[in-house]
């Protein structure tokens, strides 16, 4: 695989505040690259730099071997597709008007545009009337059409900033099926999400915290490397819940009404068993996220 995104020692500063600090990573062609972190971790800022929306304060960025240079962002913009966190489509325009507008902004040849539009709508299985006003569409369909809009000019890489926020679970699942189909067609996907089940679909995941990259690996390796000891699921059996001595644990995290914990010594399990049902579990990506991104900031 060759490299699609190459970020080297990226810094982004806003006055005295450093939003992104010395971040370096690469994304390979045809990869689904997950970019995770708590709110304000610097994910969106990094994506904005990679899409040419924001200038880096320091560092170098290459997209498809082309360096992103201030004043020459348009070269990069032709190679990337972007679906933003908040906005999908203009609500008061029809589907066709939204797509026409996006194509015009990119100076697309009309015949090429019509062909791409047809292919993309077939790709998402949309056969309805294109004169429908967007506000009348279900959120899931809106997201899928917004994905088509970001793909109209056939970018090599698509940046999806929380593309499924506020979307129902079935529609989210469908959306991710589309992402996988895109990758199968050779596209590179760079995605941020707060849904850990979605992040499991990524080939590799970068974890950001306070503007710094704190981990970068496959989901499986992240789980393995974060939890060296057995993780347990603890369900309280008494009401009110009698919490055990926290000194017994290396990790103790609330998980709904239950707890996920790593014992300092497995011999202490018998002490806790009086008040909890205890089960061995494999760590999920959510456990990793809580441990690495949130646990250490507490």
């Amino acid at each position: 695989m060759s490299t699609m995104v190459d970020v080297r020692h990226l810094f982004v500063r806003f006055g005295d505040f450093t939003a992104v600090r010395d971040v370096s990573f690469t994304v390979e062609k045809g990869e689904i690259f997950g970019f995770l972190g708590a709110n304000g971790a610097g994910k969106t800022t990094t994506i904005r730099v990679l899409c040419g929306l924001l200038l880096a304060s320091e560092g170098r960025v290459f997209i498809d071997n082309e360096e992103l240079i201030a004043g020459h962002e348009s070269l990069i913009k032709s190679k990337v597709g972007y679906m933003s966190q908040h906005f999908t489509l203009y609500d008061d325009l029809s589907i066709r008007e939204n797509m026409d507008f996006a194509a015009s902004l990119r100076h697309m040849n009309h015949a090429e545009y019509l062909k791409n539009r047809r292919d993309l709508l077939d790709f998402i299985g949309f056969n309805e009337d294109l004169t429908k006003v967007v506000r009348d569409l279900p959120t899931g369909i809106k997201q899928e059409i917004a994905l088509c809009v970001s793909l109209l000019h056939q970018p090599k890489i698509v940046f999806l900033d929380e593309p499924t926020a506020g979307v129902a679970p079935v529609a989210r699942h469908r959306f991710w099926e589309l992402i996988k189909k895109l990758v199968a067609q050779g596209k590179t996907i760079f995605v941020t999400t707060h849904y850990m089940d979605e992040a499991e679909n990524c080939g590799r995941i970068a974890l950001m915290r306070s503007g710094e990259l704190i981990a970068l690996d496959s989901p499986a390796n992240l789980k393995q490397n974060t939890f060296h000891k057995q993780l347990y699921h603890l369900s309280p059996i008494t009401t009110p819940v009698i919490l055990p001595d926290r000194n017994l644990f290396d990790i103790w995290e609330p998980y709904g009404q239950n707890y996920h914990a790593v014992f300092k010594n497995d011999t202490d399990i018998s002490i806790v068993r009086k008040h909890f049902n205890i089960q061995k579990i494999s760590p999920s990506l959510e456990d990793v996220f809580i441990q690495l991104v949130e646990g250490q900031t507490r």
Partner: protein, 373 residues
């Protein structure tokens, strides 16, 4: 539950104060806006309008006629200068070089000495109702002072000079003829500014601006693309106001369609760009509306010449008024409705309106570029 709890009301009271003191705009509105209005009104509502430019032609050339002109000059109210012919005096009024023209006929002194009332003709700019009532008051005082100077006798009603007035461009001094073109300018400016005040903010708030910026579209393309649809819309508004003025209020239009259309388009673009600048700076719709109301309405109503004549205000207010296109368009609109000056007479107004539009657009583009960087 008690119908009124002092504790709850106090908690809300304290919370509201915290909001106010943490919001600089509200503080500014509450404290600085009254100050600004008092300063502007205090200086602009100067009823003692002074140094009114007055052209005169003395065909009598006698001691009496000289004393009459002297009376005008020695008051602080008028600044007389002589012209070659009545036509030149009238032309100066049309060009707004003079607000009035005094014509002293050849037999002026003879008439007075014969015990009759000395007749003089006074042409006044009827297109400028804002100064005319003050001028009329001054003329009564001048009349009394002049006859005292000329005849050195106690002034009585019978001894006064016979000032024959003629109001150019608005013979019946119809106040609507004066106010409607001014109102038209204010309405067009307000609508234009409000239309674009929200446009950029809305794109930021919905997040669509990011989508736009992720494409190769440049700041200039975004600004121009956003501005011109509203220019057409505002121009439609102007056409409505223009026909209302003529059909409903009977205001005559004696100017050239080319002049009024060109001037209006430049004016509209200037105000659309002003609104867009507010939108770029504020980024939030509710803040933008507050800015527009304060920054836009204040100069529009007080510093445009709509209510108070600009030329008699202190220099500082004249400079502030010159930043906004309303001052110049107000002049152009009133001129084209009532006087009908030619393009060459008005070239400076077109030039200023054009430059203002360009400067506001450039400011929008630069500020927008900086804000996205």
């Amino acid at each position: 539950m008690k119908s009124f709890s002092y504790k709850r009301a106090r908690a809300i009271f304290l919370k509201e104060f915290k909001h106010i003191f943490r919001d600089p705009f509200t503080l500014m509105m509450a404290l600085l806006l009254p100050l600004a209005i008092v300063l502007i009104l205090g200086n602009s509502m100067e009823f003692n309008i002074k140094s009114i430019s007055m052209a005169y032609l003395d065909h009598d050339k006698t001691q009496s006629s000289r004393k009459l002109v002297e009376t005008f000059a020695s008051s602080d109210y008028f600044k007389p200068y002589t012209v070659e012919s009545p036509a030149a005096g009238e032309a100066d009024i049309r060009r707004e070089k003079a607000r009035m023209f005094l014509f002293i006929p050849p037999d002026f002194e003879k008439e007075i000495m014969a015990g009759r009332k000395g007749k003089v003709q006074i042409l006044l700019d009827g297109a400028d109702n804002s100064t005319i009532s003050a001028v009329m008051n001054y003329l009564n005082t001048i009349n009394m002072n002049a006859i005292y100077k000329i005849k050195d006798i106690p002034v009585s009603k019978d001894s006064l000079l016979d000032f024959r007035y003629r109001y150019l461009y608005n013979p019946e001094l119809n106040s609507q003829w004066f106010s409607i073109p001014g109102i038209a300018a204010v309405i067009i400016a307000l609508v234009a500014m409000m239309l674009t005040t929200l446009t950029i903010c809305r794109e930021w708030e919905t997040g669509s601006m990011e989508m736009l910026l992720s494409t190769p579209a440049t700041a200039l393309e975004i600004m121009i693309g956003k501005l011109f649809p509203y220019a057409f819309l505002s121009f439609g508004g102007f056409i409505v106001v223009f026909f209302c003025a003529q059909i409903i209020f009977g205001v005559p239009f004696v100017g050239s369609y080319f002049n009024i259309i060109l001037g209006t388009l430049l004016f509209i673009i200037g105000y659309l760009a002003t609104g867009m600048f507010i939108s770029v700076v504020s980024r939030k719709q509710e803040v933008a509306v507050q800015y527009a109301a304060t920054i836009g309405l204040l100069p529009l109503s007080l510093l445009s010449g709509f209510i108070f004549p600009i030329e008699y205000m202190p220099d500082i207010y004249q400079w502030i008024a010159s930043v906004f296109p309303a001052r110049f368009y107000m002049e152009l609109s009133r001129d084209q409705f009532l006087k009908g000056s030619s393009f060459t007479d008005l070239w400076f107004l077109f030039f200023v309106l054009g430059m203002q539009a360009l400067v506001w657009i450039a400011a929008c583009v630069l500020k927008f570029k900086r804000s996205i960087e």
